[in-house]
């Protein structure tokens, strides 16, 4: 039996399409974990990145935090926190947020830093407030890069959110972990395929957001 047979068998089994262990339910859980983790990471990474990028201060601290966070293994963190606080959503969210912050923070910082200083000087010279300069002059121009940071964070979180199943939560990881335990490779391959598809859908979603949110003057098309 090859991989395609596994995939075919997994998706054509009607039992996989209903109930609490059905694909729609697991997908929904997976998307919820991803959005929650990404939301928390963005709520921390975006403001800090925008502010440090605008003022140009704290660049070293940003780089340090990002490197340190990248060095933490998500799986190790999950087990460690699960042991400390017990099983639940928290041990899943912490590693995912830690994973998502560095790409968001560093890219946002770099994106704002690299905005042409001339329009910023012009805006300041015409009496624009600093907050307006950040949100109306720098951010629109930095937006493609900021979005790319969010996008890589999102894709990483989508694939890593499978670890939620390890601490008895749902998500697509359920298929992979249960399948491995049950030696049901059809389930393992099916779950992996779903994760890959979800990552592609995420990329497509960011492409669409970029088309809508980025000014044609910045896209140069």
């Amino acid at each position: 039996m090859n991989v395609l047979n596994f995939v075919n068998a997994f998706f054509s089994d009607s039992a996989h399409w209903h109930g609490y262990d059905g694909i729609p339910q697991r997908l929904l859980e997976h998307v919820q974990y991803t959005l929650l983790a990404l939301g928390i990471a963005a709520a921390i990474g975006l403001p800090v990145g925008l502010l440090t990028g605008h003022t140009g201060r704290g660049g070293n601290a940003v780089a340090f935090v990002a490197t340190a966070a990248r060095a933490l293994p998500s799986f190790g963190l999950l087990v460690l926190i699960a042991v400390v606080v017990g099983i639940g959503l928290l041990p899943v969210m912490i590693p995912l947020v830690v994973l998502a912050i560095p790409p968001i923070l560093v890219t946002t910082y770099e994106a704002v830093r690299s905005v042409d200083p001339a329009p910023v000087d012009a805006a300041r010279g015409m009496g624009m407030h600093e907050s307006s300069i950040l949100f109306r002059v720098e951010l629109p121009v930095a937006l493609p890069l900021v979005l790319s940071g969010l996008r890589s964070a999102a894709v990483q979180v989508v694939s890593t959110a499978t670890i939620a199943a390890y601490v008895s939560l749902g998500g697509i990881g359920r298929y992979i972990i249960d399948g491995l335990y049950q030696r049901n490779y059809e389930k393992v391959v099916g779950g992996a395929t779903l994760v890959a598809l979800l990552a592609l859908v995420t990329l497509a979603a960011f492409w669409a957001v970029g088309r809508l949110a980025v000014s044609p003057g910045v896209r140069r098309r």
């Binding site: 042409d116 001339a118 329009p119 910023v120 000087d121 012009a122 805006a123 300041r124 010279g125 015409m126 009496g127 624009m128 407030h129 307006s132 002059v137 629109p140 121009v141 980025v214 000014s215 044609p216 003057g217 910045v218 140069r220």
Partner: protein, 387 residues
């Protein structure tokens, strides 16, 4: 500006005890080599840079006591490379300040459209983005954006340095035309002395170390440079350039050697001149010829010597008149009226006399260098004509 100094924490002095009175409703140019503090001086006016010592007052009010955003909104600001917002359309770029001070979308855009026309931008560009425009067009947008909220003061920091010479000349002419219509108080920074002389009503020459070398109208700068530094900075041909400030109006013209293409043999023989200027029946110049080469009733324009570029007395300066005479193969300059009809001709010698007369008149009127108090505004009586 009263004894204004800008010293940076590392001890560098960018501007050193600068005292300058900038006249209302005219163009004051700050010029000097790089590192002379001219940009710092400009940026202290809208408080992008805060002076270390000294005070800057505008209409008697100390700038330091005014809220900084309100101050900046009352002054248009134009920088090199324009600094346009690339995510906004041309129209929205120009409408920035009106929107900021709460004019409303409709009114701001109407105003922006009006300004596009004023700075010579085609209305079809309104919906374009900055990257779709040439450097010169972008700079026009920069000027329009600065003028949008109708500020009484305009600060321009090397606005035309990044465009090619032909476009730069167009922008300079446009600025002079706009200034004629609007009468703003403009402070203009440049490193180009020709630009300073062309645009400035008053020119402040600054030297490295942030010191003022000379503050005078351009004609006075050319006639009486304060020291070797200013003279060096003006360049070798300041005598020729000074002629730009003398009107060609009083130039003695003669119509004696001018003949029409359908002149009779007697008319051709009458003038006692080495060369005759032949015009068409409407009086427009065709070319020069020696009298013996002309036959009545058979004058072919293509056999005539070219007459070079004519000048317009009253509009053009003595520099233009001299240029015409130098370029003319006969050494005579052709004067025409606004419709291109010949009003007379002048020899190099006549122009030379006019130059000496003009020099005498100017030196008699302007006070010598080193005198304090009010500088003669535009060296009274000397018309500033386009070179």
């Amino acid at each position: 500006m009263d004894s204004v100094t800008k010293r940076y924490p590392d001890g560098t002095v960018a501007v050193d005890r600068l005292t300058l009175e900038i006249p209302d409703r005219s163009i004051t140019v700050l010029v000097g080599p790089s590192g002379c503090g001219k940009t710092t001086t400009l940026r202290m006016i809208n408080r992008m840079v805060e002076p270390t010592e000294g005070t800057i007052t505008l209409d008697g009010a100390d700038l330091q006591r005014q809220p900084v955003t309100a101050l900046r909104r009352s002054m248009g600001y134009v920088i090199q490379n324009a600094g346009l917002f690339q995510h906004r359309t041309i129209l929205d770029n120009i409408a920035t300040v009106p929107r900021m001070i709460g004019w409303g979308k409709q009114k701001s855009r109407e105003r922006a459209r009006e300004l596009m026309e004023r700075v010579g931008l085609d209305a079809s560009l309104a919906k374009r983005y900055p990257y779709q425009l040439s450097g010169g067009q972008q700079q026009r947008v920069g000027v329009a954006r600065a003028l949008a909220a109708d500020p009484p003061v305009l600060l321009m920091d090397e606005p035309f340095s990044a465009v090619d010479p032909v476009v730069r000349k167009g922008l300079q002419d446009e600025l002079l035309r706009i200034q004629d219509e609007l009468g703003k108080t403009i402070v203009f920074v440049t490193h180009d002395i020709d630009e300073a002389i062309k645009l400035g009503t008053m020119v402040a020459v600054m030297r490295t170390g942030g010191r003022l070398a000379q503050y005078a109208p351009p004609a006075e700068l050319l006639s009486d440079p304060a020291d070797d530094f200013v003279e060096d900075f003006l360049g070798a041909d300041r005598g020729i350039r000074r002629l730009s400030f003398f009107a060609s109006e009083g130039l003695q013209l003669t119509t004696a050697p001018v003949v029409r293409v359908d002149a009779t043999a007697e008319q051709l023989a009458a003038p006692d001149a080495p060369y005759l200027l032949v015009t068409d029946v409407e009086g427009r110049p065709l070319g020069w010829s020696e009298p013996r080469d002309l036959t009545a009733g058979d004058i072919a324009a293509e056999r005539l010597l070219p007459y070079g570029r004519p000048f317009v007395p009253g509009t053009d300066s003595l520099r233009a008149a001299l240029d015409c005479a130098v370029l003319s193969p006969t050494g005579w300059a052709v004067a025409v009226d606004g419709d291109g009809r010949v009003t007379g001709v002048a020899s190099q010698q006549t122009i030379g006399e006019a130059i000496r007369t003009a020099h005498g008149a100017a030196d008699g009127r302007t006070a010598g260098p080193g005198t304090d108090g009010d500088r003669p505004a535009g060296a009274a009586g000397i018309a500033k004509a386009a070179p």
